[in-house]
Amino acid sequence: MTAVLSILKSGASRKVKFLALFIAVLATLSLVRMWADVLDLTSRGTISAALGLAVPIGLAGLGGLWAERAGVVNIGLEGMMILGTFGAGWLGWQYGPWAGLLGAILFGLLGGGIFALATVTFGVDQIIAGTAINILGLGFAQFFAKIAFSKAPGGGPTQSPSISALPTFTFDRLSDPLVSLHGKGYFIISELAGLISGVFFRLSILTVFSAGLFAATAFILWRTPFGLRLRSVGENPHAADSLGVNVYLYKYIGVLTSGVMAALGGAFLAIAASGVYREGQTGGRGFIGLATMIFGNWRPGGTAIGAGLFGYIDALRLRDANGTAMRAIVLLGALALIVLAILAIRKKRYQVVFGLGITAAVLISWFLLTTALPREVALVAPYLATLLVLAFASQRLRPPAADGIPYRKGESK
């Protein structure tokens, strides 16, 4: 562990650092799997489910990132996601899944457009406008779902008829041997096998597409003139304006893209995850997406990791009938806290070390004294994890400097 830490501290290239971190995570998972004796921790089913659960959260987070990089705090992601589920269901059941995607995009543009009009053009407080979008999105979807789906064959007031499925890929020749390798329970090797087999098992084309969106976002925002300008609007709009960057235009683009991303997250839920639009389908994922974006330090890579984490814990919880896997997660959490504590010791922040140490000790004794985790606790685990992560990471986060501040042209500062 300390070896990995020193690699991370050293001047090694980012690839090397990433590899080191990756191996460390696998090793920890492996140790926990052995100690807690839960093979399902890294099984094909778990990983595959985790990926499916991570995608909508990640897309919502990506949506948040686009808006906040342009300086607009978007807590209306949940509402935009709901609009996306409805758009996907409405066009999807009639004209097929591809049309469903298009529907989600259109409704995402609608949500983003209203939000941009309120926050960018009229300078309405972004939190209030975001809350309004959440209420509006929900009400809109409920109202029109009743009209659109009540009389449809196989539909109802809160549910659309089913949407035909999009293609998925399964690489059996790769996946199946890896599954048996996973079953052998080798140190690290099995984890790696489980991971790969899970990723290539019933891989939805939407998942591939989403991964592409992450890569594209990273490239566009950090490598192109367009992206630099968009981010400059979130950092210092007055400076951007003084160099001839059209601040309002870039804010609009950021917020509209945000709406589309969140809506695509909703479309994934409707089309790939369940095959129908259903009321309450998003279940707060828009907010979790926002949290993953903050966890990911307003960067695509970090957001993806955050979403993966949530998806993973959620998947374990869902597949864990007797609570043993969640018990292993308690141990995993304790180990993570210990790593953080070591980092804090190096920084000489002893109060933090103390807090982390106590929490880790409580978790470990909990692990040792129980054999399974109550369902209720398992239910809140992802949220607890969010809180923990945000509480300890918040000091290292670097949000865009002008995030959340309405911009009015010509006001000299």
Binding site: L228, R231, H238, S242, L243, S412
Partner: protein, 505 residues
């Protein structure tokens, strides 16, 4: 050949006429200075020329052609560049990102970072700007930021350069470097329009000088054909004599107001920003701190005000204040003029009278018990505006509508209210015109005679030497020398500040 000609420019804001019938001619390849008191309308005029604001009336000609600007990109196109009074930089961006923003070189759709980098180092080499393109702007000191701003403008190939108070934040040798760079630009045929309140600098660098008073151009003086003096300029600007910072006689008493010992503050990387600073200030004493910016002055001030964690002890008026919060310290009678007024001293989007409450929210005349007393606050705000000659249409305007110098005068007025016993002043006259400078100095002198203890930090060495009873030189967070204001010269002090000399006397 005229690079710029402005004719009959008018600009009105609600309640203020910022520019009224401005006429200005700027020769190509010359340095043209614009001087005028705070709120005279200099920045507004430059923003109009740069396309950031639109004139209500009047015409702008550039290189003999009449132009109309809708946005800065129009003016950038005809070769105008502006360095603003307040830095226009994104702290979370690198120097490179800040510089190329808006005119990025591309290769196959993405930013060509390599080309940008070589271009930047080319420019910074040929004008001696010396900047690391990969540094994060948030990590740079003010002198470096200034150079980044100039780099930004040159990078866009500007032939007409507007500099709005570029020297306000620089120390003498940085000013010399800047002027060296400006002379280089001039010899390449670049036109420079230069705003400053420091008249000696203006006389040093400018070919022509235009004076603006209450929004109108009142005179243009040519240094090639006539001898211009600072007195003459001051006369034209404010109709008064040139003030000098000077305190007569010592008023230092035996009573220690601020006692600081072994003050140390470490940043998040474990590096000491200030280490082992010990000193005392008596009632009636002004202690000056000299140093190049970024050598621990800000950290020292923050530690004393309680906004930065530090070890060591701080006693204010025989009370241990080391463990007290900032509000408690202020209630002991500490007044504070911070270095960054828009970030630390004002709520720009709040009306002036609400800003009067800031930092004094528990004290009269703003509060009685748990209740705020807006009526009294408003009355007192009016008093400050009168006593300190803050030029504003009223007390209900937003703080952001005041010109830079008038914001500063307001802050000084607020902090001097309520008879403080200790004043922590960072650059109290930065960006303030000669008239207001005199008023602030008078105020400090009067308060000092009544027993105010002052910690004075200033980049203006004349001010530092003239006002202080004793001077300490700070370098990399440590006191490296003491100087006697009675004998030390600005040159000696400047050398001590950069570590060139061990002691200044």
């Amino acid at each position: 050949m005229l690079a710029v000609e402005l004719q009959g420019i008018w600009k009105r804001f609600p309640g203020v006429i910022a520019n009224s019938n401005i006429n200005l001619k700027v020769e190509q390849g010359s340095v043209h200075a614009i001087v005028g008191e705070n709120g005279a309308g200099k920045s507004t005029l430059m923003k109009i020329l740069y396309g950031m604001q639109r004139a209500d009336e009047g015409t702008i000609s550039v290189n003999g052609k009449i132009v109309e600007f809708d946005s800065p990109s129009d003016s950038i196109e005809v070769g105008i560049g502006m360095v603003h009074q307040h830095f226009m930089l994104a702290d979370n961006f690198t120097v490179l990102e800040n510089v190329v923003l808006g005119s990025e070189p591309t290769k196959a759709g993405s930013i060509d970072f390599a080309a940008a980098k070589s271009r930047i180092s080319e420019i910074s080499d040929s004008y001696g700007l010396e900047i690391d393109a990969d540094a994060l702007v948030g990590d740079l000191g003010v002198g470096d930021r200034q150079r980044v701003e100039i780099l930004k403008v040159l990078y866009r190939g500007a032939r007409i350069l507007i500099l709005d108070e570029p020297t306000a934040v620089l120390v003498p040798h940085e000013v010399d470097e800047l002027f060296e760079a400006l002379r280089g630009l001039k010899s390449e045929g670049i036109t420079v329009i230069f705003i400053s309140h420091k008249l000696d600098e203006v006389l040093q660098i400018a070919d022509e000088i235009t004076v603006i008073r209450r929004g109108t151009t009142v005179a243009t003086l040519n240094q090639k054909t006539q001898t211009v003096t600072a007195e003459q300029l001051a006369e034209l600007m404010v109709g008064s004599e040139l003030p000098t910072p000077e305190t007569r006689g010592s008023t230092v008493t035996e009573q220690v107001v601020l006692l600081v010992s072994e003050l140390t503050s470490v940043n998040s990387d474990g590096k000491a920003e200030i280490s082992d600073l010990s000193f005392k200030i008596h009632a009636g004493e002004i202690l000056g701190i000299a140093g190049v910016e970024g050598n621990g002055q800000s950290e020292l001030v923050e530690a004393i005000m309680g906004t930065r964690a530090a070890t060591g002890s701080i006693w204010i008026n025989d009370q241990d204040a080391s463990k007290l919060g900032t509000r408690k310290r202020r209630e002991l009678g500490v007044a504070y003029i911070p270095e960054d007024r828009s970030r630390l001293a004002l709520l720009l989007d709040a009306p002036l009278w609400e800003n009067r409450i800031l930092g004094h929210q528990t004290q009269a005349p703003n509060a009685k018990g748990i209740r705020l007393t807006p009526k009294l606050t408003k009355m007192d705000t009016k008093r400050i505006i009168q006593e300190f000659d803050v030029r504003t249409p009223g007390i209900d305007v937003l703080a952001s509508a005041l010109s830079g110098g008038n914001q500063q005068k307001f802050i000084v007025g607020r902090e001097m209210s309520g008879n403080p016993i200790l004043l922590i002043a960072s650059h109290p006259t930065r960006g303030v015109d000669v008239g207001a400078q005199a008023a602030i100095w008078d105020e400090l002198r009067a308060a000092r005679e009544k027993g105010l203890a002052v910690l004075l930090i200033s980049a203006d060495l004349d001010e530092l030497i003239g006002m202080s009873d004793s001077i300490k030189v700070i370098l990399r967070g440590k006191f490296v020398a003491d100087a006697d204001p009675a004998t030390v010269t600005p040159q000696q002090l400047g050398n001590a500040m950069t570590g060139a000399l061990k002691a200044a006397n």
